[in-house]
Symmetry: C2
Subunit: 121 residues, 2 copies
DNA sequence: ATCTTATTTAGCGAAATTGCTAAATAAGAT
DNA sequence: ATCTTATTTAGCAATTTCGCTAAATAAGAT
């Protein structure tokens, strides 16, 4: 289970337009558009999502995007893996799944409590 | 469906410790602890969650809490209803439910896409 | 060893956030 | 009309965030 500090870190990370767009595209494969499946599979890694590939989609300088990615990584939203001198980025779906569950449970509990409260009147 | 701007506003609102605690307690009934169900129901409203009740739980000045509540309200996370000279606060579970769905769908789509990608190798 | 490519770190300034107190507003009670 | 209670608005200072450029680091290629 995520503790409060972790949740707040996640929300802070997603509460910025640039980071939210990165997050969304990393999850939905928005940065994998350059992958050409007709090429041999060993070439595919060379086209995959790395820091500079993501930076190409924004009007901000590369170091700015690098820092945004670090924040998403520190919040456990993405996973960054260094292979040779490139860093490949992929989503961490477990965190997002947990977050979804937190919200669902919150709403469920709320609905239960509301029912009980109304019952007393 | 929530658009991107709305989602970012929600995340920004929840990415602050004070606002997150308010959010959590408004949803889970943390501020309703003072409600004494043995008293006649017309007295219950007088004990319910209003701005100053919430402020009592924090070491911050009342205007600070007031501004935090405004931000939660602007993000549609809570609903503030003025009755006479008090403002009563309740959660907006629909927004949170929608947010939970967004995350779930994201993870589901990700899992599907991952399967397809692996299939090509 | 040097060059190139990929990324991060350092340091700076502008803008936003978050806290405060004092004053303004709104509505009920005397 | 004045007082009290509940809340917001205004204006200010400290801190954080977010952008930049320049420099540092890391690793592969020549």
């Amino acid at each position: 289970m995520l503790d409060m500090k972790q949740k707040i870190k996640i929300f802070k990370a997603l509460g910025n337009e640039t980071r939210f767009k990165i997050f969304k595209n990393v999850f939905t494969g928005g940065y994998a558009c350059s992958i050409d499946k007709s090429k041999p599979s060993e070439d595919i890694i060379a086209q995959a999502t790395c820091v500079s590939t993501i930076a190409e989609h924004f009007d901000f300088a590369l170091p700015t995007i690098s820092r945004h990615l670090k924040e998403l990584k520190d919040a456990d939203i993405i996973i960054m893996t260094k292979i040779s001198n490139k860093i490949y980025i992929k989503p961490n779906p477990q965190i997002i799944e947990e977050l979804a569950k937190c919200f669902s449970t919150l709403v469920e509990n709320y609905n239960e409590n509301t029912y009980q409260f109304d019952n007393t009147n």
